[in-house]
């Protein structure tokens, strides 16, 4: 649906380009989680895709007409207009008419739960309600690609589930989405693909479903000392483990090995204070990839 070819951008008088040779293809119905530390180039990339800036070199090719829905991080609406007046204004600007207008309105109101607040002035809404209105205005526009920037900040967990469900619904209906968020578990839940930017380059572009399917890991921690026989028991099971005085980390362990080890630990005089067992999360993956850089 959208292809970025060798896309580069340099701000005037900047020593380094903000983006260099970005090649990216976005398919219909694809949701991409865009990650990167501050200054990595996310803003520049979103600005180029939304045509707010023109690339220094390279090109953006649309298969089909260009149509983008924006949900910026800022609360981009009029606080002295009511919820309904804001939605009507943007519906007019999106040139929505007739049945399509009504369908879009009903759909976003249901997703955001703003129906009872239609008459309220936007400025009087709570922080979370304002976020929902900001989201509603962006997705009211029928578009092929939605750029969603931190849409769930400050939204309570129930409303957040509604928003995420609506984004999944958009994705499932064939819309493409580029999603940035501080909440990596949200990205993990809705994005099948992650693009990690680092200093203007794509550091990795991977399918989360396969990339996060790594072996199970186990972390055990005792309040004081490890059981004395634990090192020998792990060795007997053929596990490669890293030991400290009170903890052990095993990077790869099967379910059968875990069960055996679990029974062994349960028979010891002192039980561990912490047990973490499972696949690595996106957050762990992100921290590994970026080395914890901000």
């Amino acid at each position: 649906m959208l292809t970025l070819n060798n896309l580069s951008f340099r701000y005037p008088a900047a020593a380094q380009p903000a983006l260099s040779d970005i090649n990216l293809s976005i398919q219909a119905g694809e949701c991409i989680g865009l990650l990167g530390a501050n200054g990595a180039g996310k803003t520049t990339l979103l600005s180029l895709i939304s045509s707010l800036m023109q690339p220094s070199s390279g090109s953006i090719e649309w298969q089909g007409p260009r149509s983008i829905g924006l949900v910026p991080q800022q609360l981009a609406f009029y606080s002295r207009l009511s919820v309904q007046e804001n939605l009507n204004l943007f519906a007019d600007l999106y040139q929505l008419r007739g049945n399509l207008r009504q369908q879009q309105m009903d759909s976003v109101l249901q997703a955001t739960g703003l129906q009872p607040l239609l008459k309220s002035y936007a400025g009087t809404l709570s922080g979370g309600q304002q976020r929902r209105l900001n989201f509603a205005i962006g997705v009211l526009q029928p578009a092929q690609l939605y750029l969603l920037d931190e849409v769930s900040v400050g939204v309570d967990s129930r409303s957040r589930q509604h928003l995420l469900a609506y984004i999944q619904q958009l994705r499932d209906s064939g819309k493409s989405i580029i999603y940035t968020s501080h909440y990596l578990h949200e990205i993990e839940a809705i994005a099948a693909r992650i693009v990690l930017l680092d200093r203007g380059h794509i550091q990795c572009d991977l399918d989360t479903r396969s990339s996060l399917k790594q072996p199970q890991q186990l972390l055990l921690q005792w309040p004081e000392q490890l059981p004395t026989s634990l090192v020998a028991f792990c060795s007997g099971l053929g596990l490669r483990a890293e030991f400290s005085s009170s903890s052990v980390f095993i990077a790869e362990i099967s379910d059968q090995q875990f069960l055996t080890l679990y029974h062994f630990i349960g028979a010891q005089a002192q039980l561990p204070s912490k047990i973490e067992y499972g696949q690595p999360t996106l957050e762990q993956f992100y921290l590994n990839m970026t080395g914890g850089a901000l």
Binding site: K42, S50, L70, F77, Y78, L81, E85, L93, I137, D149
Partner: protein, 395 residues
């Protein structure tokens, strides 16, 4: 449809902005009334009535005629047979009739309490001089048998007045630019504060643009690829309309409310199309300047400072706060740099000089040139500011 939606939004927002309503309507209306009162002594067309004591020692028909002629000169004043020494007095001597046709003639004697102002003394002196001349002319006509003594005094007075009438055609030279010196309080105050209020649209215009830029709504507009002309027109057109509403409302205040408060009524005259042309030119100038200020300011504090500051400076040098007619020459020359001064001159041409569209054309052309200059530079800067509105993200 998009432009109309943006215009409707702007008007809706303005209607709910009580601060803007106060700045655009309440403040100029208050200043207008206060300053009209403050200048109420200037060039009043109707002078206040006087109370004058008459001490008449002569009971002839001549002195009766003189009193009638004097009352005709001071039609709204009260001539009373009393000896109150707090009022100006006119004393008619018992030999008034005997020596009426003597030359030189010593007429009635006048006495004024020390507190009587110069203008009142002049008015009484002039009225007595004219009444005396008419009484002497009557006596001459009687002696010459050109006037019948038997007809009533008011008819005699009419005939005498007819013999002393003369046509003195009077023309105002509109290009002299000194109409402010002839304007009364309402003619000075209404246009001055009306223009001041109209130029204050800069403030809500600049604030509205700042809000859109800072909130991200401008980012949405850019994402929709709304062109700069649509965005600029969506600001200009509603505020031009607001300017027209201000123009009509504040003029109506001058025409209807000021006389109810005892101030001179504003006489609009017949050239309504000239007022429309003038309102349009002022609106173009103020809104173009508003666009420029909106594009220049980088935050709401700057918007407030630039719009209010420039408005007050333009008003101060342009003769809004102090009439140009009482400014020193150097300040009057400086005033010529202010578009408010041009608008004020055009207004006075209509209100005081009863001019037409052709008469105000030089000032209208200046206002339009100012509008083109500010509008063009404002549009270029506005375009740049819109293009500088980028996506911001904090993660």
């Amino acid at each position: 449809m998009r432009l109309w939606a943006l215009i409707a939004k702007e008007i809706r927002l303005l209607r709910r902005d009580w601060h803007a309503i106060a700045v655009l309507f309440l403040m100029p209306a208050t200043f207008l009334i206060l300053m009209a009162f403050a200048m109420s002594g200037l060039n009043r067309e109707q002078l206040p009535p006087l109370a004058i004591n008459l001490q008449v020692a002569d009971s002839s028909a001549d002195s009766a005629f003189f009193i009638s002629a004097l009352q005709a000169q001071l039609s709204d004043s009260k001539l009373q047979h009393a000896s109150d020494n707090q009022q100006p007095s006119i004393r008619i001597d018992k030999n008034f009739s005997t020596h009426l046709l003597d030359t030189p003639h010593i007429g009635p004697s006048l006495s004024f309490p020390a507190a009587t102002d110069h203008l009142s003394r002049q008015r009484i002196h002039s009225a007595v001089t004219i009444a005396l001349a008419q009484t002497r002319l009557r006596a001459f006509l009687m002696d010459s048998q050109l006037l019948d003594e038997q007809i009533p005094i008011d008819e005699q007075l009419f005939l005498v007045q007819a013999r002393t009438q003369s046509e003195l055609p009077q023309y105002d030279v509109l290009s002299s630019g000194n109409l402010a010196a002839k304007a009364n309080a309402s003619q000075l105050s209404v246009p001055a504060w009306l223009i001041f209020g109209m130029f204050f649209v800069m403030l809500p215009m600049a604030n509205s643009f700042q809000h859109e830029q800072q909130s991200g709504t401008l980012l949405r507009f850019r994402g929709l690829q709304l062109n700069v002309a649509t965005l600029a027109l969506s600001k200009l057109l509603p505020y031009i309309a607001i300017n027209f509403v201000q123009f009509v409302a504040l003029l109506a205040l001058g025409v209807f409310a000021l006389p109810a408060l005892g101030l001179p009524a504003l006489q609009i005259g017949d050239h309504l199309s000239a007022y429309f042309v003038l309102a349009l030119c002022i609106a173009m100038a103020s809104c173009s300047l508003g666009l420029l200020i909106a594009a220049l300011a980088k935050n709401t504090e700057q918007a407030l400072l630039l719009s209010a500051g420039s408005n007050i400076i333009l008003a101060a040098i342009g003769g809004v706060m102090v009439p140009k007619s009482i400014m020193p020459i150097a300040m009057q020359q400086l005033a010529e740099l202010s578009p408010m001064s041009w608008a004020l001159d055009a207004f006075l041409t209509l209100l005081v000089g009863q001019g037409s569209t052709v008469d105000i054309l030089p000032w209208c052309l200046r206002l339009l040139a100012f509008a083109v200059l500010c509008g063009t530079s404002g549009l270029l800067l506005f375009r740049r500011r819109v293009q500088q509105t980028l996506w911001t993200t904090h993660n």
